[in-house]
Symmetry: C2
Subunit: 571 residues, 2 copies
């Protein structure tokens, strides 16, 4: 393929091997990641940490520039760091109608490009996002409240992994069918009937990504890259309190698109002001054909009911559940669970909430333990984990919003509080709002109304049950009805593990078993773990799998008589 | 795997090679079919034709027996052959609630079976359906009105091809991820973090197949087999005028399921009486998670809007369009199109309706030809094709219902009728209602209201346009807005073919080019042609492709510390 004009970089040629390895990794499901997860100067360069911080600080208090971006005017600054300062960044303003029109106009060239070309551009965007990991880490930290190391990992390389995973599925799914084929059907008399056929993957149409406050990049990249690589322009609508990480992402994506010879409006930032709410209008615009959403159950359900013209992928809320039956490593169990509950103050869609424990006790390597004793031991483990203020701050991060604080207050009501949440002073950021987790004791039969709603934030319940069988019944029924993104079990009995696996299959949730070491139920690894199951009310999508990409494009066909054998097809 | 009790046949082992070849064929997209399409004694045995007819006749006037079928009582006979006699067959009655409860109860064992086992059972069902092709052909002929040869091909081997194609996609899609994997992540200190993971494909839940009157098996098998192989029980709800072909299908499926050791209620027949309408209740039952539908736009749209608890696959109606620009084989064009319009009296969802022709003429190998001349020539070609009564009956079949006759009368109104529909006496079935096609001349600008609705049946319009460019604009806009299942173009110009291909990609429809021989626009070949595009309003599904199966199951995961390296995961 040669054409006049400036020579374009061939990003596909550059990333071909990476893409092949990524596709192989989706099928292998062992450990694989091309992006280094530690913010180490040895991996990212000695200058990278300082340069990233400087880049972040240079953005504060200004208009975020996006060259040639559609729309006019600015969206006033509204982001406030949970660590206690205003970001003061305003963004280009674009109305839903302007954004859709610009995306549609940009779509023509992008749809005409091959899946290879689109995958190459996506891989290059990811490569540059990786280079910008420190800048993005600061942006994520100061919009989500995540501690810095987590903001770097989850907001940077781990989000990039998830993005590449979506690229891999989207790219390979478009290669399932050949671009062309000869169909030749033998006839009883004369030569065969023969047709030449073409098969063209065609994007469904304009995509809208409605991102969340807590994991704007990690939860956003799969939908963004799945839509892009399948040939769709994407309008990125960040949460109004977490615009910056996605604004940086959009800036990088537009730069790569332009370099590759595409209209940069293939990716558009639709920031909204502090008092605005543009997601409903964007998601229900007649030309919008794909919506990816992470956020509240309420709005997710609304989108599913109302954005009927689009394919809607949602990740909402649920009741993440732990079944405690027995353990041969009680200390490991407590330490692991204490960390899961404390990490980012439980502000993860994967943090356990409901811990089901036989009221009268279960077996441990340190002797039998009642539900009350367990609750007290868990509280103690959290105390020990968070005893050192620096370590506490590095684990907890900051509280992302008023809603979490409100729920934390409210959660003191219904149960018997075993561990009070405490305010912690952040050693570096005195303005940060930091809270340690609340643990309350509930009873399975009495407190159903309390534990069958999601308490997003550092709130968890040790729920006394009659037996593990009773725990499994509650697990199965509550998750089937209310959804969950994660589930865990602790047991030394293969029979109980089997029964829990069966219950998890019935409930439609992924299960972690006997995690007592350095892997936590709230973490999932790209290319190995699925995130969400699409099998319970918490999510209609898995990030990522074939079902996450197949609907984003169609394969259209043409056929005509094959020239050489044309005369033989006459009747 | 060994277990007590009678030895079960291993259908997977028996059909392993066939399944592998079917999966390869979906990726190759050349010509491939394992089921012989001609009703020849050499392929099916010399006894097969007579045995099939006898089997069909033995069913008439009786209760159709389904051993152990849920429900109670019978649905009274209501099917009337379009060839002029009552079938007189009553069916077991099952209410929607009973059907769903029985399907749910049967699901447990079926879900627990492996994708291999399920694919093997499905392949065996298809093998026995193939053996029953003559019986099914008579059942299809006398419920749909198709001529016998077509009923054999489309209702038998071609439907079985489409079923096997769905089996192939469903089976291979569940093998994309391994059943188990070891995740091992190197750590800076000590041994790796290691987890053993399992990945289990799990069916979404109870599926309902709402089948159509005209192609009960061809349009029904893809959804039936896609749902079955992905682990879902299927409630088959036939059209009330075409129960028998699917009743035979259900009988065979239940027999194979029972032999394989499964509850036969994995496949249930939900026949409805002549005055009943059970599809809405079935499709919106809270436990129903998948709906496949072929039929009217009105009910398809209703299902999409109301069966919100389910994944809904629809194939509805559209405006199948032909763009005539030029030809170097005018006789071939006329002959091919005349056959397309006449086959089964145009009662195919793929029959062309709107033929866009430049009013002032287009180039042919026999000199220029105006739209009026073309319409007259097309009428003449139809007359010639149907001049012999036996050949006419073998091509046209019988009119399936009152609605088609009503539309045929109504169609004489709006345009200028170029060819009147005529009643034809069927040589073998004097009671058959047989009609030849109506062709009317319309004008693009004046008659938009007429040609932008679907006139299902033997009605087509030669629509005069200003130019091919004008034709392409109408093609693109009407198909985008109202949908289409097929499109065709005739042109000797590569530039026009290119422009039509571009318009078809924008409209979201598959395109056939310059068909003048033995392939017709209304035919599609399994394993090579996609049917429906899911890219325009006529259908939300393609039969079949990966998107047709990925949503029917989820892959659920469990993970636990790997035993050998367990101690190294302690922190």
């Amino acid at each position: 393929m040669s054409h006049p004009g400036p020579r374009r970089p061939d990003f596909f040629l550059h990333h071909d091997e990476l893409l092949g390895r990524a596709v192989a990794a989706t099928a292998d499901r062992g450990h694989w990641s091309p992006y280094v997860e530690t913010p180490s100067p040895s991996a990212y360069g000695t200058e990278a940490p300082a340069r990233g911080e400087a880049a972040f600080k240079a953005l504060l208090g200004k208009l975020f520039e996006l060259e040639g971006h559609p729309g006019s005017g600015t969206v006033p600054a509204g982001e406030i760091s949970p660590y206690g300062f205003e970001l003061g960044i305003s963004y280009p303003r674009v109305t839903p109608g302007q954004a859709v029109a610009a995306a549609e106009a940009a779509a023509t060239g992008w749809r005409a490009a091959s899946p290879d070309t689109r995958a190459g551009v996506a891989a290059e965007i990811l490569s540059r996002l990786n280079e910008a990991s420190f800048e993005i880490a600061h942006a994520v930290q100061h919009t989500t409240g995540q501690p810095f190391l987590m903001a770097f990992q989850a907001g940077g390389p781990h989000a990039q992994d998830r993005g590449l995973e979506a690229v891999a599925y989207a790219w390979s799914e478009q290669r399932r069918h050949p671009a062309a084929a000869r169909w030749s059907k033998p006839q009883r008399k004369g030569g065969p009937l023969a047709l030449d056929k073409t098969f063209t993957p065609v994007g469904r149409g304009v995509a809208v990504l409605i991102a969340c406050n807590t994991f704007p990049t990690w939860n956003g990249y799969p939908g963004l890259f799945a839509s892009l690589v399948t040939g769709n322009p994407v309008i990125v609508k960040p949460h109004r309190r977490a615009v910056l990480p996605l604004a940086i992402t959009v800036r990088i994506a537009r730069a790569v698109l332009a370099e590759a010879g595409f209209d940069p409006d293939v990716v558009i930032l639709a920031a909204e002001g502090p008092q605005e709410r543009t997601a409903p209008a964007l998601a229900t615009h007649p030309s919008v054909r794909i919506v990816d959403f992470t956020g509240s159950t309420e709005f997710g359900d609304w989108l599913e009911a109302n954005a009927r013209q689009a394919l809607v992928f949602t990740e909402k809320a649920g009741l993440n559940t732990v079944v405690v039956d027995s353990t041969d490593d009680y200390a490991g169990l407590l330490g692991n669970l204490a960390f899961s509950l404390s990490l980012y103050s439980g502000q993860m869609c994967t943090t356990p909430q409901n811990i089901l424990v036989p009221r009268d006790g279960f077996a441990t390597d340190q002797g039998p333990c009642t539900a009350d004793e367990f609750a007290a031991d868990l509280a103690g483990a959290i105390d020990r984990l968070l005893g050192d203020p620096a370590r506490a701050a590095g684990t907890l991060g900051a509280i992302v919003g008023e809603g979490v604080l409100r729920r934390l207050e409210e959660a003191a009501g219904p149960g018997r509080t075993v561990r009070e949440p405490r305010a912690v002073e952040h050693p570096e950021h005195p303005g940060a709002i930091v809270r340690t987790p609340l643990v309350a004791r509930l009873e399975a039969d009495r407190d159903e109304k309390t534990y069958t709603r999601e308490w997003f934030g550092p709130v968890s319940f040790v729920i006394g049950t009659d037996s593990t069988e009773h725990s499994l019944r509650i697990f199965r029924e509550t998750v089937r009805t209310y959804g969950a993104l994660t589930a865990a079990v602790h047991s030394t009995s293969e029979a109980v593990l089997d029964a829990t696996e069966a219950a998890a299959l019935q409930a439609g949730v992924h299960l972690s078993e006997n995690l007592t070491g350095g892997v936590f139920v709230n973490q999932s690894a790209a290319f190995s773990d699925f995130h969400g199951s699409a099998a319970n009310p918490a999510a209609t999508a898995t990030l990522s799998d074939p079902a996450f990409v197949t609907g984003r494009f169609v394969t259209l066909q043409s056929r005509r008589p094959a020239p050489a054998e044309r005369s033989s097809t006459d009747v």
